[in-house]
């Protein structure tokens, strides 16, 4: 079983026992963790033993605390790749950390904070402390990643610590962390070998027998630079005339490493020397790859050379336990490469070409691309990019694709239309919409017509040009090959969403159902689930509550298929379910689903659902008469939804806000909102506008302007009926009833209401009526009376029990069965529950810290959060409240 390249990045270096141990430095690192430092920063130039020190420290710390290790590469400057690797590393310490790539792949992609918040929430649920090590952080230069790490540091859960090893001070808020005592720092002055350590290294580890003077001379010359001392030692091991070496070495100004590496190279056999120079172009080495690069003219036994190098502590670092993969210590890679350039410049492209071929034949296409590009082997590079491009795209690694294609000459790219399409998609998904058209310029191939239309459709959708998005998506579907399931699924879904937003719910239902089927056929669970969640909403708008609920439940089943724990994207289905359950007046279940939906959406970074979940919770609290909590949830929803493009959800939130203003008697605010909203009465009536304008009508009625409301409602009703939006029609008709009632036009009021009831009864609508309070109750009573007296032709059409049930629902003072659900606005995390149990058991903070193996400061932090959530100020109160709520 061979090591994957991913594994080599996650491999914490093993420690060779012969190296110099540095207990004082280890103790500083340990001390930092004990003090609860968020960040350990090791910033020193190459060759000061940073990685070695961390490796030794990992071995020291591992039994008590898990360590997740990530060795960074130049290629990790692609944010999608970077965070995917971070999540992968975290998963070695905590198996429950989920896939982050999917979060970033949503359309539109969430702000990085949302996805990271999701990751952090997942980490916070882990019990035991652990450490994330990022090695070679200086290779990262992408601003967005730095911002992400800063965000991570600001919100780091108490049980996690971050270690960064770098050659340059990173652009992170270091002074702030230092000021708060949350930083442990090690620099060149700490890491350099002291005279003692140099002596130990040279004489005991390397087996030389140098006098104190000699050691001092070498220490002076190298200034404690470990790499320098190491090379000097290696050189001296092979020499008889050690004194001569020291004299020459200390007597020259020559750049140490250049001098020493040349010395050491001269001491190697010609075969080894050739090996070192020619393989210096590789990021990673395994014997087969080295053999391929060196070629068959003058072959070298790479396997034994690698073993020789490792044994002699020369240049290479193992990347796994199986001794399959190695890499050069970067310091030496550069020096060796420079020599290669000097001596065999014209052979370099050929070496890269061979490396590219080997990687391609071994099925590692992404690695092959880099070498092909460097070799100037454009044909191969283009072919490989086309081959691996789509997979790279689905992982969200747009930056990588853009870099690859950017390295190819423009006219070359133009001659390969498939690259052009891939380029266009990468541009579009990275938000560089203006660049898309020039990528597609000149692509007239029939074969690609579907793909070209597909990316244009996506761009139109993002720009909000719904008619164009619909037209292009339809065109794309006409031309895309049947077998291209994944792309067809995406385009179909985008089309369905466009219909949904523009208010054509019948088309939305049809199209999204197809998208679901395609997603399943393509084996894309995440994409299928998003389609199902929106399909459910489309059913709701059409008035099919039962089918909506079925869809949500199906989605939940799909989401749980992977394992026992619900995955984050189940959050979308839970929120949807909360909506229909609320309508059916099952407030307890609706609240439970909303809370679970919120929790999972937060984990997954699904902002729209996170917001919607809060809005639903707000409605549920309001329905129970808990105004305060309702407002709190509403404010949260508004805050979370700021700055995003979630027009539909924000319309629902705005509606709720308007209702609460009126309920609180803040007429002015409500009316001002109405002014703003109705000014644009000529706007096309899409789904979001319909919600807003319906809310406007509601406010007008509540504020004693039923005449105006009726005008608006008539327009809305017609539009809804034409488009088959029965769900909306029910709400509108109910409002019409109230408006007529306010004008004392009882007959018309009853008539409107009965029409609403006829449509609503088969699907069991309840809250739409109950939420309207007294005026609606009055009207319904009249309907009931009319039914009982056999009057009004229409009344006979409505099942008699229905109206009675509705009236009964008004009377209920919704008693939640579980007091805990009502009282706890924000549920306690698992960790907080652990701490609370121990608090109730009577343990002090220090005892709890010992019991759970965490810092006392961490315990205090948890306790404060618990007080906040329980609404108490002391331990005694907390215990009482916990018992009251039957939390434990």
């Amino acid at each position: 079983m061979s090591t994957s390249l991913l594994e080599t990045k996650l491999y914490a270096p093993s420690i060779r026992s012969e190296l110099v141990s540095r207990p004082h430095l280890i103790e500083r690192l340990q001390g930092g963790l004990r003090r609860g430092c968020k960040l350990v920063l090791i910033s020193a130039p190459a060759g000061y033993g940073k990685t070695t020190l961390l490796g030794a420290w990992v071995a020291h710390t591992e039994p008590h605390r898990s360590v997740a290790w990530l060795s960074l590469d130049e290629g990790d400057n692609d944010p999608a790749r970077f965070w995917a690797y971070v999540a992968g590393a975290l998963r070695t310490a905590r198996a429950e950390i989920g896939e982050i790539g999917q979060m970033l792949f949503q359309s539109p992609p969430p702000p990085i904070e949302a996805a990271l918040a999701g990751l952090l929430n997942q980490i916070a649920e882990a019990r035991d402390p652990f450490v994330l090590v990022l090695d070679d952080y200086h290779l990262i230069h992408t601003q967005v990643i730095h911002e992400g790490i800063a965000f991570l540091l600001e919100n780091l859960p108490p049980q996690m610590h971050l270690v960064i090893a770098t050659r340059a001070d990173p652009p992170l808020p270091i002074p702030r962390l230092r000021g708060r005592g949350q930083l442990t720092e090690l620099y060149q002055s700490d890491l350099r070998f002291t005279l003692e350590e140099a002596a130990t290294f040279l004489n005991e580890v390397m087996g030389l027998q140098l006098s104190g003077e000699d050691v001092a001379a070498l220490e002076r010359r190298t200034e404690g630079w470990i790499a320098g001392l190491q090379m000097a030692a290696v050189s001296m091991q092979r020499r008889d005339d050690v004194a001569g070496f020291i004299q020459a070495f200390t007597g020259t100004h020559r750049y140490i490493l250049d001098y020493l590496v040349e010395e050491v190279l001269q001491q190697q056999s010609p075969g080894v020397r050739r090996f070192l120079l020619q393989t210096s172009i590789l990021d990673r080495l395994c014997s087969a790859l080295c053999d391929a690069v060196i070629g068959s003219d003058e072959p070298v036994d790479s396997r034994s050379v690698l073993e020789h190098l490792e044994r002699n502590n020369l240049f290479v670092v193992p990347l796994d336990d199986r001794r399959q993969w190695y890499r050069y210590h970067r310091l030496f890679a550069d020096l060796l490469q420079q020599r290669l350039w000097r001596e065999q410049r014209d052979r370099v492209p050929e070496l890269h070409k061979r490396a590219g071929e080997w990687y391609e034949q071994s099925g590692m296409v992404a690695e092959a691309v880099g070498h092909a590009l460097t070799a100037g082997d454009l044909e191969r590079a283009a072919r490989l990019i086309e081959q691996t491009g789509w997979a790279t795209f689905t992982r969200g690694e747009m930056t990588t694709i853009l870099e690859w294609i950017g390295a190819l000459p423009d006219d070359f790219v133009r001659s390969r239309p498939q690259l052009g399409v891939l380029h266009a998609w990468a541009m579009a998904k990275s938000g560089r919409l203006e660049g898309v058209e020039s990528c597609l310029e000149g692509i007239h191939s029939d074969r690609l017509r579907g793909e070209v239309a597909a990316v244009r459709a996506y761009v139109a959708g993002v720009r909000g040009d719904l008619p164009r998005a619909v037209a292009l998506a339809q065109q794309a579907l006409e031309h895309l090959p049947e077998e291209d399931l994944f792309l067809r699924a995406i385009v179909t879904q985008n089309l369905g969403v466009a219909y949904h937003w523009s208010g054509d719910s019948a088309a939305a239902v049809r199209t999204l159902s197809k998208a679901v089927a395609l997603g399943r056929a393509a084996g894309q669970a995440f994409q299928t689930l998003t389609a199902m969640a929106i399909l459910g909403r489309a059913h709701e708008i059409q008035g099919s509550l039962r089918r909506a609920t079925e869809t949500y439940r199906e989605a939940l089943a799909l989401a749980s298929e992977a394992g026992n724990r619900p995955v984050p994207f189940a959050g979308m289905a839970y929120v949807g379910l909360a909506g229909t359950l609320y309508e059916w007046n099952d407030l307890e279940e609706a609240t439970r689903c909303a809370m679970e939906g919120i929790r999972l959406s937060a984990l997954g970074g699904f902002v729209a659902y996170h917001v919607f979940g809060h809005a639903l919770l707000a409605r549920a609290y309001e329905a129970r008469g808990d105004r305060d909590h309702a407002i709190e949830m509403l404010q949260k929803a508004e805050q979370l939804g700021q700055g995003g493009r979630y027009a539909l959800v924000m319309a629902l939130v705005a509606e709720l806000r308007a209702r609460l203003w009126v309920a609180q008697g803040d007429a002015a605010a409500a009316l001002q909102w109405v002014e703003e909203r109705s000014l644009r009465a000529d706007d096309p009536l899409d789904a979001a506008r319909e919600i807003e304008l319906t809310a406007v009508a509601w406010v007008l009625i509540a504020q004693g302007r039923p005449g105006e409301a009726l005008g608006l409602l008539a327009r809305l009703l017609e539009a809804a009926q034409v488009a088959g939006r029965t769900g909306s029609a029910i709400k509108i008709l109910a409002l019409q009833g109230l408006a007529f009632q306010a004008q004392h036009r009882v007959g018309e009021a009853l008539s409107a209401l009965e029409r609403a009831l006829t449509l609503a009864e088969p699907e069991g609508y309840v809250r739409t009526f109950v939420d309207e309070g007294e005026p609606m109750r009055g009207l319904l009573s009249q309907v009931l009376v009319a039914q009982q007296k056999g009057r009004q032709a229409l009344s006979r059409g409505i099942a008699p029990n229905y109206v009675a049930r509705l009236l009964a629902a008004f009377g209920e003072k919704a008693e939640p069965a579980s007091p805990a659900m009502e009282a706890l606005v924000e549920p306690l995390t698992e960790r907080e529950m652990d701490v609370l149990r121990l608090v109730v058991a009577g343990l002090s903070n220090a005892e709890i810290a010992e019991e759970l193996v965490i810092a006392v400061s961490t315990v205090k932090s948890h306790v404060n959060h618990i007080y906040g959530k329980l609404g108490v100020r002391s331990r005694t109160q907390a215990v009482a409240r916990a018992q009251e709520l039957a939390l434990l």
């Binding site: 190459a46 050659r167 340059a168 790499a227 750049y255 310091l331 420079q338 410049r345």
Partner: protein, 95 residues
């Protein structure tokens, strides 16, 4: 296009590092002139395309573990820095 005008616009940097490296390193540093100094420093001098190229150069120096001592911009002394006569006078007398 006037050849001299192009040169006048190029920005020349001079970087000083500690440790002597020889002229064979010139290729690795994109053709900069390498001049060891008597005190054990080395001067790397030459035109640098822009800020990004400058940072790339500094990163190369960093990654070799060569201690960086100073970075100067000396665009007026183009002819001297490149060690050769220009075919025409650049903007009159040299400062």
């Amino acid at each position: 296009m006037n050849h001299c005008e192009g040169l006048e616009e190029q920005v020349v940097y001079q970087v000083r590092v500690r440790g002597v490296i020889d002229s064979r390193w010139s290729d690795w540093f994109d053709g900069l002139s390498i001049r060891p100094q008597e005190n054990g420093d080395t001067l790397l001098t030459g035109p640098v395309r822009d800020q990004a190229a400058l940072h790339g150069l500094l990163a190369k120096i960093r990654d070799l573990g060569l201690p960086l001592l100073s970075v100067r911009r000396i665009w007026k002394d183009v002819g001297w820095a490149l060690g050769r006569e220009l075919p025409c006078r650049v903007g009159g007398a040299r400062n």
